[in-house]
Amino acid sequence: MAEVKVKKEANLSDPAEVENRIKELCHQFPQGITDQVIQNDLPHLEPQQRAMAINKLLSLGQLDLLRNSSGLLYRLKDSQSTSKMKGSDNQEKLVYQIIEDAGNKGIWSRDIRFKSNLPLTEINKILKNLESKKLIKAVKSVAASKKKVYMLYNLQPDRSVTGGAWYSDQDFESEFVEVLNQQCFKFLQSKAEAARDSKQSPMVQRNSSFATSHEVWKYICELGISKVDLSMDDIETILNTLIYDGKVEMTVIAAKEGTVGSVDGQMKLYRGVNAVIQPTGLVKTPCGLCPVFEDCHEGGEISPSSCIYMTEWLDF
């Protein structure tokens, strides 16, 4: 026992040993250790020595300094990333840190400048450097086509940047959306017709003509017309466009948590509907669709008497 104590005391005086001890502690707790843990382990270590050891490890880039709700956390840095940063100076490390923090949404070069307070030329040089080292990459944002956001090389860009399932290479795939639109509508329509032909009581008829968003999603997945995996939210956006086309209506019902397809205790139901009125009388005349309606006066160049659209329509 005395030997152990002596050993420990011998360890304490050597700063390298302190650092090693701290590193071992970090290995033990991969999520990170607080100052408290180090203090508990090495009770006789003075706060100054502890601080010195930690600072040394940080500057060597072997320790990561994080902050959580209870205080500061020290975490062992990934050995791979430490090797990457060798040869980069502090500015690059700073920029890299900022980009890493931005996660998979990426960050714009102007924002990097704000966060790091470095001049623009420096930033551009550093970004080029990091790109050549294959540490970061530039992704074109779909919202503003000229804007480029930077993110770590191996991260998948977030949906808001690439546009999600509807965009392939920054291009909006309108035919794909149209096809999905029509398929969903056909599904709902056939369901409604089947319900109508079943000749049951009206309540049952109406309820059976409803389809949950989950059912539609399953149907579309089984159809296999999509190369990309579509989530239920994607299908719901498609169904919303059908609502805006006036072909489908939606209700929300309360569902038990845990039933398939329910989100927060609610389920969305969709149903194909018919139009409320026939195309209105005004559009059955050429005037209703005339592109030069505003310029038409009696006695002018464009007038009812000489209207070519009317002539065509009358001879139809």
């Binding site: 109406r206 006036g246 026939q278 005349t285 005037c287």
Partner: protein, 531 residues
């Protein structure tokens, strides 16, 4: 009284009453209330003509007179309103409705009253009987009692009403209000005068003597019981009927036949109990509805309850639940139904005019009220370039409005939110004006077409007259064919084409009139309701 309305009224007056009345009518429409001297001076017509035109307009209810602005004793002023004259466009629809409800007799009664404006009951009955008798076979004639019963039925269901008595210009009545009294303010508005008309319809004889005889007889019967009681067509009632029909057909389209029958029953039951400007009908209990359903629809009671629940749950909100007593109290939401129908009309116009994608954007904006451009693209799933193009087209046609919300006190474009929005009521008004212009265009085109082929029409008329006279005097078939061949084949083709064109234009006017009716009812309903 927009320019389009005045133009359309002018065309209608010209067609139905002639040029002189048109001049006086449009002058009154444009200048508001005026007295006789001013009208004569400004239209440049003779006193006689102006007086007669004013008489015609008053007879048809298109013009109202009241004592002048400077108080009683000053010359009467004449005022005209667009609404009444625009009803002329709807006459075919009124006549057709009367025919479907009350048969040929009802149709002719309404037609006579529409043509004459105001008429006594006895006069109407006699004329209608005569007309019906003419079309019947030899030896049969129409009994007055049948026509009177049709007349009474029309009055009972409020389709006809008594004309209100207007105070004469001379009577210094301090209680006369500036607004002329409505027909409903008279208690016996719908009371049929108690008289029995005995007689049968007279066939019109070709000989002159018959007419003289009839004239003599008419003078003897002149001292009738209903002297001074004039009847007119109650347009508001017809409009309520049209509105009910529109709601029923919308329900039939959206749901199914049985639901529309239920709504029809509910509306029929509240026909006379609901005021014209009401937001919804009086509440009806499910028991009452069940009892009043037509006998052919024997749906069991629970099924009826289910249908009613479905109607209430429908997003279109045609029917609402007002309480639980009596098995559930249900009302028909009239104003909301009108708003939905007007909305569907707007959407259909956008769809036909600009395509289904623009219609998608339009419906999206109607639902979500205010949206930014980016949000419009996202919700409607339309590529950014095309969405921008469509939005700008809709904006240039004034169907969509732009709302600016500044972030800074100076309206710097880069720091302002631009939101697209659709206001249903102003857009409906704008479309209504477009409808008026369209109808005016159609009428003008029709007149133009007839004018172009005037020569041809006159020729065909002459030949028809010759044919008729030859047939009456008993000519041989060869003579007839000779006369018929006076019209060459291409001319006949032209005539047929012309007839086709005119019919097409006519029916188009009626179709646009349906749109006008929906939009007008919607605009009027929002004017009166506080919701």
């Amino acid at each position: 009284m927009t320019a389009q309305e005045v133009r359309l009224c002018g065309l209608l007056l010209h067609e139905h009453f002639g040029e002189v009345v048109e001049k006086v009518g449009t002058h009154l429409l444009r200048s508001g209330a005026q007295n006789l001297r001013t009208i004569i001076h400004e239209t440049g017509l003779s006193v006689d003509l102006v007086k007669k035109s004013l008489m015609v307009l008053v007879q048809h209810g298109a013009c109202l007179f009241s004592s002048g602005r400077k108080g009683p004793g000053s010359p009467t002023e004449y005022r005209s309103g667009c609404d009444r004259i625009l009803r002329i466009l709807r006459y075919p629809r009124y006549i057709y409705t009367a025919k479907t409800l009350y048969g040929d007799t009802g149709e002719l009664v309404v037609e006579e009253l529409l043509q004459r404006g105001h008429m006594t009951m006895s006069g109407t009955v006699k004329t209608v009987a005569d007309r019906l008798t003419q079309n019947m076979e030899e030896g049969r004639s129409m009994d007055y009692s049948e026509v009177s019963s049709a007349f009474s039925k029309l009055v009972e269901t409020h389709f006809l009403q008594r004309c209100p008595k207007l105070a004469g210009a001379g009577t210094a009545d301090s209680t006369t209000s500036a607004i002329p009294p409505t027909p409903e303010s008279f208690p016996d508005c719908y009371k049929v005068p108690h008289m029995t008309l005995v007689g049968r319809g007279k066939r019109q004889l070709a000989a002159e003597d018959g007419e003289d005889q009839r004239n003599a007889k008419r003078q003897k019967m002149d001292s009738e019981v209903d002297e001074g009681i004039y009847w007119q067509v109650n347009f508001e009632r017809f409009h309520l009927h049209f509105r009910d029909q529109a709601i029923i057909s919308a329900v039939a389209n959206k749901l199914d036949q049985t639901s529309s029958e239920i709504v029809r029953t509910m509306l029929r039951m509240s026909e006379v109990t609901t005021s014209p400007a009401a937001t919804c009908t009086k509440p009806l209990s499910a028991n009452e509805i069940f009892r009043s359903l037509p006998a052919s629809y024997n749906i069991p009671r629970p099924i009826l309850d289910q249908y009613l629940t479905l109607l209430v749950d429908d997003p279109m909100e045609f029917v609402g639940k007002a309480g639980e007593s009596g098995g559930g109290m249900y009302v028909v939401n009239l104003h909301r139904a009108l708003a939905n129908l007007a909305r569907a009309t707007l959407e259909s116009v956008v769809q036909e005019r600009f395509g289904s994608r623009s219609a998608r954007i339009f419906r999206l904006l109607l639902r979500k009220r205010h949206l930014e451009q980016k949000q419009v693209e996202d919700f409607a799933m339309i590529p950014a370039k095309e969405a921008k193009d469509m939005l700008y087209t809709l904006l240039s046609q004034n169907l969509v409005q732009l709302q600016e919300i500044p972030k800074t006190p100076d309206y710097a474009p880069s720091r302002t939110f631009y939101l697209y929005t659709v206001n249903q009521l102003p857009t409906a008004r704008m479309l209504l004006q477009n409808c008026y212009k369209t109808v005016a265009n159609l009428i003008e085109r029709r007149l133009f077409e007839s004018k172009e082929s005037k020569r041809l029409l006159e020729k065909s008329q002459r030949i028809e007259a010759i044919l008729a006279s030859l047939q009456a005097s008993g000519a041989e078939p060869e003579q007839l064919t000779e006369v018929e061949e006076m019209i060459t084949a291409p001319e006949k083709q032209q005539l047929d084409a012309l007839k086709l064109h005119i019919n097409k234009l006519d029916s188009a006017e009626n179709q646009v009139d349906e749109t006008i009716f929906l939009l007008e009812s919607y605009v009027n309903s929002t004017a009166t309701s506080t919701v």
